[in-house]
């Protein structure tokens, strides 16, 4: 099987879906790149190069460079979606959601319900999040908790190249608005990815390690760290299950509760400040649905309640580390 990067896996899903369905269009800032300039148009492919190569293949009607106007980008994508296209809008950094959130949570997410079930809004918002790039407080957040609590949205957090391709393919074929949260620290991570198109269903957790001593639930860029922690613990004889729900909405509650039934110990790793985080949400799920199964308090490994700091040593301390995950698991034993 070909080994490609997370970035390339996303690019491949976009290319294959655009080739398969003429309704799929890309819009966003520099998704082609260079529009109106004196040099090569379409040579950039987004600030991280994720959409590189698509403009030359599909042209300016399908790979649409926009002004830096996030409300108009997301709103126009929502309007195009509800009238029959299948747009994939790029919101460069998820941090920029503040300037266009109305179009996401008040408009696109609510069309179907407010209109009595008569609207379909097959919109994908691709965006990137996460710390570790020394990008400072306004280019490093995750923000999935804010999105996950919005009824009408689906929220996807791919943690590997394989998942990125299969989940994005699913997202583009989905008839509801989907926010696809890419982890920028994973773009260069490589893994096996089938050449042909495939879908990974939403709401189905991936089991990366299977052990009976404790359950770790992790999302996005925290998944490789949870796996590393599990492997370290295995050397000490502690067998841990690692679950990646892959989507925070819908959330595979069943997989979490089933695993908890077996292990009785739960640690949630969430790259997010702690209040109203997915960690808090899943802890609430455990105590409300599986209280009798719990043998220890639920371990929450999150960021502190602070903005993301800039200084490299501070930022490294901000993000949940493998060591903190190991420590949290041990605390439950």
């Amino acid at each position: 099987m070909p080994v490609i990067s997370y970035r390339k896996a996303i690019n491949q899903a976009l290319e294959q879906e655009m080739a398969r369905d003429a309704r799929v269009i890309l819009m966003g800032i520099d998704v082609g790149g260079g529009a109106g300039g004196s040099g090569d148009v379409g040579s950039v492919g987004g600030v991280m190069g994720v959409t590189k190569g698509l403009y030359p293949k599909f042209g300016s009607d399908r790979v649409i460079d926009t002004p830096i106007s996030e409300s108009a980008i997301i709103g126009a994508a929502a309007g195009a979606a509800v009238t029959g296209m299948r747009p994939v809008a790029e919101l460069m950094f998820v941090d920029f959601i503040g300037v266009c959130f109305d179009q996401i949570y008040n408009q696109a997410a609510k069309f179907r319900y407010m209109f009595g079930g008569k609207a379909r809004t097959p919109l994908v918002i691709r965006t990137m999040g996460g710390a570790g790039m020394r990008a400072g407080a306004q280019h490093s957040q995750t923000l999935h908790p804010i999105l996950t609590m919005v009824p009408g949205l689906k929220v996807v957090m791919p943690s590997s190249p394989y998942d990125a391709k299969g989940l994005l393919t699913r997202a583009i074929r989905d008839d509801d608005p989907v926010v696809f949260l890419e982890s920028k620290s994973l773009y260069d991570v490589k893994g096996e990815v089938p050449e042909e198109a495939y879908e990974i269903p939403f709401g189905e957790a991936n089991v990366l390690r299977d052990g009976r001593d404790a359950t770790i639930v992790a999302f996005g860029a925290m998944v490789p760290r949870a796996v590393a922690a599990a492997d370290l613990l295995a050397k000490e004889g502690v067998k841990v299950t690692v679950l990646d729900p892959r989507t925070t909405s819908p959330l595979d509650e069943e997989a979490i509760l089933d695993s908890l039934d077996e292990t009785g110990r739960l640690v949630v790793v969430d790259e997010s400040p702690p209040r109203c985080s997915l960690a808090a949400d899943i802890a609430a799920l455990a105590v409300s649905q599986a209280f009798d199964a719990l043998k220890a308090p639920v371990g929450l490994v999150t960021c502190p309640h602070t903005p993301v700091p800039f200084a490299p040593n501070l930022e490294d301390a901000y993000v949940p580390s493998v060591a903190r995950i190991v420590e949290a698991v041990k605390k439950t034993l």
Binding site: P67, G75, G79, T83, R112, G116, K118, P151, D174, D176
Partner: protein, 321 residues
Amino acid sequence: MQLNRDELKRAWRTMLTIRAFEERVEKEFADGTIPGFAHVYLGQEASGTGVCFDLTDDDQIGSTHRGHGHCIAKGCEVEGMFLEIMGKAGGICGGKGGSMHIADMDKGMLGANAIVGGSPPIAVGAALTQKLRRTGHVAVAFTGDGASNQGTTLEAMNMAVVLKVPMIFVFENNGYGEFTSAEYSVGAKSLSERAAAFGMPAASVDGGDFFAVHAGMREALEHVRDGNGPYALETRCSRFLGHFVGDPQKYRGSEELAAARTNDPVLRFRDRVSEAALLAIEELNAIETEVRARVDAAAAAARAAALPDLATLETDVYVKY
């Protein structure tokens, strides 16, 4: 352009339906049969009617919190609308939208919108669909003097010019954004001047005159259907009532309030077509009687209608979850 008798009757019927509907909403609201808020379109009937007159079900509009008139002008049925704004089963949105969220995709009505400036970006997207599919159809965003100051509207105007989409921005300037006058809150000399600065042609017409709005819209449609990108049309309107039904309007002087009623688009239309002998007063009256009977029956039926089934509370959040 001269309209024929059938067209004149259609315009009269639409304007009167809006007038009768909104007068009935006022009464029902006072009776307590309409939950929540109601923002009525009284005084602005000629604007929505003139703008939508030459649109088809395949052309799309995005609307505002004051959207009943736009819905009717775009072809939504008053029966379903009354059920909807009373929160009843069988409403156009199953009672889950309400007055500020009436939408009818089959009629190209992409929703009233309770967020000021919510519609323009969405209408840009609808126009983008029309452009990419080369349909020859257009999208219209209704907004007002209030939304003209909203960032989403300004972003949408630039985006529409950049993407060269077949879209018309209609600014219904009724003089007030909620309780604050446009004179105070709009920094530009005029809405059309501001729109023109974005790089699109813009015109301003008397929104109390159906014929002026219709003629303005014809020009706008000609421009956008020829693939020239967007167009902006300001319709200067009178808001007879306050921001919402029950607003005492202490912020408007008594002279101004009285003057607002003198620019009555319904009376102006009646006088003009009857004086020019285009339609006989008897014909106009007959349509009025018919329209008022239909609106009253729709309201009465909605009052008596069943509430939505509680099982619908959790349906239609997603196509599939």
